[in-house]
Amino acid sequence: MSTPVWLRGIAVAGLAVLVLPLAGMLTRVRWSTLGEDLLSPTTLQALWLSLLTAACSTLACLVLGFPLALVIARASARLAAVLRAAVMVPLVLPPMVGGLALLSLLGRSGVVGRPIFEATGLSLPYTTAGVVVAQTFVAMPFLVITLEGVLRTSGQGHEWVAASLGANRWRVLTRVTLPLVAPGLVAGTVLAFARAMGEFGATALFAGNSQGITRTMPLAIYTAYNGVGVSQDSALALSLLLLISAIVIVAGLRSWREEAVR
């Protein structure tokens, strides 16, 4: 059955809302100076900082998120529902609120932050490590939710058979469970990395916006439009870069999933 014409009209409008702004942005990019804009020292600094912190937070997501996903997938239905809800909250929460929450916990006057600061003089906010913490907070749910779904659908049949064949728990985990959920692991990691790269709200509040230390690409873009830091042309160039990586990620995940299905 074909969809009614008026419904298709609305669908086009919906698509336009999503696509037109991006197309509009392309019209503002100054192509002739694109190379210069991207390679200016402040831009490169933001780009490098983004890549570094996103790589670190993605690694943290993997190390912390895989065990968490495994525990949720193997938990009883009731416990799994509670844990899953706990993981979903940061996903739905405005990142700004996440930043405030991190500050309340780890800030210099925070519940955990104060004793640490008093004992060691170290504090997380307004440091590059703080950026990583903020990114991990907002990105980990993407990895956990994706991976948990894959773990649950793949079930435990293979693992039981492997154990009955003589494989101990470690061997079952590394030789059976991990390869079986590899597609989910890759998808979750890519999503988490993309989310970390784009993270703004929590970082701005928790880690601030200081050049070379916490000013990642999204913050650099924002700052440019406040008239300081990188130029607006550079901000547009960075945005273009983020847009292209987003397209690459979406296309990559798609073709990769099709590969995995075959």
Binding site: A163, S164, L165, G166, A167, R169
Partner: protein, 384 residues
């Protein structure tokens, strides 16, 4: 299909395949597992190389027993051990730490092949030997040997997804045996295969069980699987063993409701008396089963062959020794017409004039008729 000579009764079952050295070990298990609906209780004793079939309806507790043996379902009480006397290895016992699944030498072959999709066939079959500490080369050679036994040498380097369901199950079979188990657990291993594929896979399984002398526990609800593969059958109902018999005995003279159903008999519950079974005030003629005669005045099961049950137009008639029943199914089987009633009896109406029965052609589902068994075999409701 079956090769081994079989015992003729419930009392003289034993391991078959005389002459081969048994790689399998004896198994002794007193299993008690609490579940929400009931407690699964079963005592199993298997000699080395013996093959036991667990038969029962869905939810009767068959898979729970397999899980307990495999080490995936914890026992509430009981004891499981491999081997005998001096060589006995206790896997589960009260007050002891349960031996984990990977150290039990009990492998699992279930209805889904569950091959590892990221490994080729050699990698799949070599998984067991590698896990048990064999070298890479020795494991690979063993895997190739097993792939040859299941006729899949040509596919050795392929990934499982390229194979048909039957081929995949043959790989799973090879993988289970290559691990060198003492006991192999077969959980409806043919249930997912189409009818043409089953005999070949079943034949391979039978051959390898005999050749290796591996002890086996088979879960099935197909009589044909038990008939082809097992020495002994246990019939489970609601977590309890209701009957233990050789496949032949189960087919010819079942002693449980589920056994009767499998073998095509009808079964009705009542109270025993000197002349037979009293059901809803009607005395049905019957004689106690010589193997397990019930006491007088207790609840018991009356089992009747469909040819010994007559259909009567009226519903209840004490003088004709018939009990009422609502028809729940009419089926034809090789020229015979069988009428199934909600009271558990089945009547063969092939020789009865259909019009005589219902007054209007074949009895239809839902109609109420009288069922008159001419001779019931009476068995106690709590056999072993």
């Amino acid at each position: 299909m079956s090769t081994g000579a079989r015992g003729t009764g419930a009392t003289d079952e034993g391991p078959r395949s005389g002459g081969t050295t048994h790689r399998g070990s004896g198994l002794s298990a007193q299993i008690e597992v609490e579940r929400t609906a009931f407690t699964v209780r079963a005592d199993l004793t298997l000699a080395p190389g013996q093959r036991l079939a667990l038969l029962g309806a869905n939810g009767a507790g068959k898979s729970t027993i397999l899980g307990a043996l495999a080490g995936t379902v914890p026992l509430s009480a009981g004891r499981i051990s491999l081997g005998e006397a001096a060589t006995e290895r206790v896997l589960d016992a009260p007050g002891r730490r349960s031996v984990p699944a990977h150290r039990r030498a009990i492998t699992l072959l279930e209805q889904r092949p569950l091959l590892f999709p990221h490994l080729d066939l050699v990698g799949n079959v070599a998984f067991g030997p590698r896990s048990r500490g064999s070298g890479r080369r020795a494991s690979r050679d063993l895997a190739l040997e097993w792939l040859e036994r299941v006729d899949l040498t040509d596919h050795a380097r392929q990934r499982p997804y390229r194979l048909s369901g039957g081929q995949q199950q043959r790989v799973a079979l090879a993988r289970a045996f290559a691990a060198g188990p003492s006991v192999i657990l077969l959980d409806e291993p043919f249930a997912a295969l189409d009818a043409e594929t089953v005999p070949r896979v079943r034949g391979m399984l039978d051959r390898e069980l005999t050749r290796t002398g591996t002890t086996a526990v088979l879960v099935t609800h197909q009589l044909s699987d038990a008939w082809d593969l097992a020495d002994t059958c246990l019939v489970l109902e609601a977590g309890r063993v209701r009957e233990q018999a050789s496949p032949e005995h189960l087919v010819t003279a079942p002693r449980s409701r589920f056994g009767a159903r499998l073998a095509g008999f009808g079964a009705i519950e009542g109270e025993t008396s000197a002349q037979g079974l009293r059901v809803e005030g009607v005395l049905l003629p019957g004689r106690p089963d010589p193997g397990s005669p019930p006491r007088r005045g207790v609840r018991a099961l009356g089992i009747a062959s469909p040819t010994d049950v007559e259909l009567l137009p009226g519903t209840a008639d004490a003088s004709l020794a018939s009990v009422p029943g609502r028809v729940i199914g009419v089926r034809a089987s090789a020229g015979r017409v069988l009428v199934e009633a909600d009271n558990g009896l089945i009547a063969d109406v092939t020789t009865q004039r259909a019009t005589e029965v219902a007054g209007q052609g074949l009895p239809v589902v839902g109609s109420r008729l009288g069922f008159a068994p001419r001779s019931l075999r009476l068995v106690g409701l709590d056999v072993p």
